[in-house]
Symmetry: C2
Subunit: 592 residues, 2 copies
């Protein structure tokens, strides 16, 4: 039976909701697909639920092709498994925690690695049982600090999460590839542009990880891409390390007065004025900037660490979070400086005439980590650890060492890709899928072992694969909308055809109802705008707003045996004869 | 493609899980359908999820027939709407509450009346928009004190909840009937026996309510049924009130000594010894028992109330909970008696020679409520409010009054049905569905009004209709199991056919695979036990445990062109020729 718009639980709105920042959010609310219940928490109206079910169907079909089996876990889970892997603590404020009436701790699960691991441990015990990939489509919870952009960053959202279990690393590679391939097919079917980028395995604690990013100006993530094909999100980008330079013949360091040099630029200006170079002017890239960060460790302790990086670079706190996880990172504050008298604020450097200042072996004992560009033999202008004094010609590897390198400098357009494929561009994107090789971390922590061919217990290696259902739906809406409303790809449109009957002639409504019934009979989903007292203009506006890909207008032309086919995306209207309309429309819908 | 048992994520267990009290729980765990995650919280394995999806499909189809439209609400909801209707408090310990990172209060919704009301208020504004019935199939949460019996009383469970919206009472009646009819069709399709009983509208605050109970000895509810067709759960049962009796000629009350009468029986014995009746012996039914209850009101206050009821009856605390809701009820404790010196424990009665003792107008001021059988003119033996003394011939309406009647006495087999349809029997049952006429309570509280035909704002009247998805699944399992395992009705079986290939002949496995493929091609879901190294005995045992209704055995007989059809329910095995097996099996499955 066709769905009659006069009966459908929907109301279209002419006004944008006040809290909606992006197109998809505005349109999904205005077109009556979703309604906000709380920040980042939405109810789904019939139209929205239809689209959501279709996205789920696409995912289920491709999971079946990939040989993954569906299960379903609860959203409410006990603390213990997450305690064992340390994630109960690591998630910080990012998850919802609660107690039951007996005072036992629970969480609303943000992801399910632990309990999937335990389930497989419960059921399986032999290498013969593996490989196994199981998945669920389930509502997840994250207590986001800033739920935003409608469905894009929700606090309750639907995800497909899959987990693979293998005995060998090669097995994991194969399982990983099956999911990765399935994701490519899913995004192709959703019509969602994507880039696969190397990602940091992050809090998941894995070994290899790739993100599927959808390039979009509203994206929260930044990723880099080289003409030669390198892609990575900025957290995973690694610096192309220059060769070390021989020290021979490099002049000794010279301390000089540098009053009134609060910024790198004033220091560079002073250097150019006082000690001009013959070949070129000094630039910020010739200075070594020493940035003091404070790490808040899980055990509550606070550690200062100094990052030495070229003065033309800033520390990217998101990269730093990844580099130092699970610790939290922030800029050092006044109290930190007061407590570390060895650091002369504004004039910090690794070296002073009396000895090393930075590094775990130095007088301060503060860890000193270098940007990978600061290779041995590079010479720097940097602080001399004396108020109003800097030093020229301080050579890495000769005058100072470090506790290692760290990837925390902000990535810039033009930076060389680490694989030699040329300079990178920076783009905005949103994560639409994520594939992880977790390795043995979870299986180890939770004791998931199986007997191998020789009867020996071996720890299982795992993968974890996530794809957002509701987020992807929103991104499809975002990517396909125009100023008039939603434009759904056929694969996930709430209906295949939207029939609009106009005017007041009863014959028109009868013909429209007959065509709708005919189409439903051959398996085409029809939304039938049968509202008798609504003007054609309002009906057309609603049709454009709702975004069903094929619209059929039945009105005055019917007397001459003609109706109109209206393509929502192109806007093109084509008159077609009513007598074989069903056939013609079916061809249009099925693309045959 | 048929599902191969060698690949399916399942393990059957020979041992019953230690925590499983009832058959369905034991078998669903042993057959690999579900796994416990926490008390009352389960994960669903592939077999379980298939059955669950089929139950959902039955419900969705019947909701469509009833004209209900599907939506989906979040499980995590803000406190405010529940605060307005008072349910945030009323639920007491029965719900999960939590705070987000900003300290805002949320709950995991146990039911969604408030937000459905608000959604309709948000979208609709005219009588022309109504009637409307919308529903969801969604995971609900209740923090049960004693989660038990596997899926029967879970803390996270799936429900279909529907809500109807009408302008008129007649409209509500019609919407209610549509859902009620749908429930009857659903239970018929699930093959689940049911009784529709009058129910107390209870915490939902409505005006009319019926429960669908599945009669089962493991049920938590008790209901009554008369031969004449009256049904009610005991909470909703009402007493057939006897006629009042004239006072004329009834003797005056006499106080008598009654030492050592700690029980009703000792009191009756004493009465028969000291003041024997001419016509018959005194019985417990001639005594008036005065039971002191303590009500804990929502505002935290504690009120004592005394119930006067025939001495052969006990107070049923579940009926008392309903009678006094939203207050909680418990027996009065020692402290209560200490604080109310007017009550002479063991000798409490409404009357003393010096005046009335019970009732809001009496010396104690304690509310006194009577069982409806204590009509005016009835004469009682009861406490005299003096230690070791009782009174004879205390006449209701003459010697004492009350603050009204109350339905808290335990119902007994043989009690007359209130509609005059004869004595009732008591049976155990479990609630499998509930239909409520909420009336205007929620719409009133949350301001859901629409314009009527005259342009006047009127408050909408609502219904609420719940049916448990996971609970019903468990009850179907429970009602159909035998000592060998599960026995699914075809409508919700995880597969239509379970093909078992036995022995080691490759030809057998090839033929089985061919038959499986053939059946799948004509739309029959097949589970194919293709495990090469498992004995026939184990395979048959697994088939019986898993409970697919039609089992096909392919083994040695194949050489003679014969295979076996095995009906799981009857146990009957029928040899059939392999050459037209697919056709024969299809007929069996489709019941044609």
């Amino acid at each position: 039976m066709p769905t009659r718009l006069s009966q459908l639980f929907v109301r279209t709105l002419r006004e944008d909701p006040v809290d909606a920042e992006i197109i998809s959010h505005r349109l999904l609310v205005r077109a009556g697909y979703i309604r906000r219940q709380a920040p980042g928490i939405f109810a789904w109206l019939p139209l929205g639920l239809r689209v959501r079910s279709k996205v789920e169907k696409v995912i289920r079909e491709e999971m079946a092709v990939a040989g993954a089996q569906e299960v379903l876990f609860p959203g409410l889970l006990p603390r213990e498994p997450y305690e064992i892997t340390g994630r109960w603590e690591e998630y910080g404020d990012g998850i919802f925690r609660l107690k039951d009436r007996k005072g036992a701790d629970y969480l609303l699960a943000p992801t399910h690695e632990e309990v999937f691991t335990l389930l497989v441990k419960d059921l399986y015990g032999s290498y013969k049982d593996l490989p196994l990939t199981i998945f669920q489509i389930q509502d997840k919870y994250r207590d986001e600090a800033r739920p935003r952009a409608g469905l894009l960053r929700g606090r309750e959202f639907s995800m497909k999460d899959a987990y693979s279990f293998d005995v060998t690393d090669e097995g994991l590679d194969a399982s990983y590839q099956l999911q990765r391939d399935a994701y490519e097919r899913i995004f192709a079917r959703l019509g969602l542009e994507y880039v696969i980028v190397a990602a940091d395995a992050g809090a998941m604690g894995g070994s290899k990880s790739e993100e599927f990013l959808h390039p979009t100006p509203i994206g929260e993530d930044t990723f880099v891409r080289s003409a030669g094909g390198y892609t990575a999100n900025v957290e995973a980008f690694t610096t192309l390390v220059p060769d070390a330079i021989p020290f021979d013949g490099l002049p000794e360091p010279t301390v000089f007065d540098s009053p009134n040099t609060p910024t790198i630029q004033t220091l560079v200006d002073l250097a150019n004025a006082e000690q001009p170079r013959a070949d070129r002017a000094w630039t910020a890239a010739d200075t070594l900037k020493n940035v003091v960060l404070a790490l808040k460790h899980l055990d509550g302790s606070r550690e200062l660490v100094v990052i030495g990086l070229p003065g033309d670079r800033d520390v990217d706190l998101k990269r730093a979070e990844v580099a130092f996880q699970p610790a939290e990172v922030e800029a050092a504050n006044e109290t930190d400086f007061v407590g570390n008298a060895g650091l002369v604020k504004g004039y910090i450097g690794p070296w002073s005439a009396t000895g090393l200042i930075l590094g775990s072996e130095s007088s301060t004992g503060i860890r000193f980590l270098l940007d990978p560009r600061v290779v041995d033999g590079t010479s720097w202008i940097t602080g001399a650890n004396i108020d109003q004094k800097h030093v020229f010609g301080l050579v890495a590897g000769r005058d100072f060492g470090s506790d290692g390198t760290v990837e925390v400098a902000a990535v810039r357009a033009g930076d060389p890709a680490p694989d030699g494929s040329g300079p990178v561009e920076l783009e905005r994107g949103t994560e639409i899928g994520h594939v992880f090789q977790l390795g043995r971390k979870y299986a180890e922590a939770l004791g998931l072992k199986v007997l191998d061919e020789n009867g020996k217990l071996v720890t299982v290696t795992m993968g974890s694969y996530g794809i957002g259902v509701t987020r992807n739906l929103a991104l499809v809406a975002e990517a396909n909308a125009d100023e008039k409303g939603l434009v759904w790809p056929r694969e996930i449109a709430p209906f295949d055809v939207h029939i609009v009957a106009t005017g007041r002639e009863e014959a028109v409504y009868t013909a429209a109802a007959r065509l709708a019934a005919e189409l439903e009979l051959i398996g085409i989903d029809v939304l039938f705008d049968d509202r008798p007292k609504v003007s054609p203009g309002v009906k057309f506006g609603d049709a454009e707003l709702l975004g069903v890909p094929t619209i059929v207008i039945i009105g005055r032309g019917l007397a001459d045996g003609e109706i109109e086919l209206w393509d929502r995306r192109s806007g093109e209207r084509t008159p077609i004869p009513v007598h074989d309309a069903a056939q013609r429309i079916a061809t249009e819908v099925r693309g045959a």
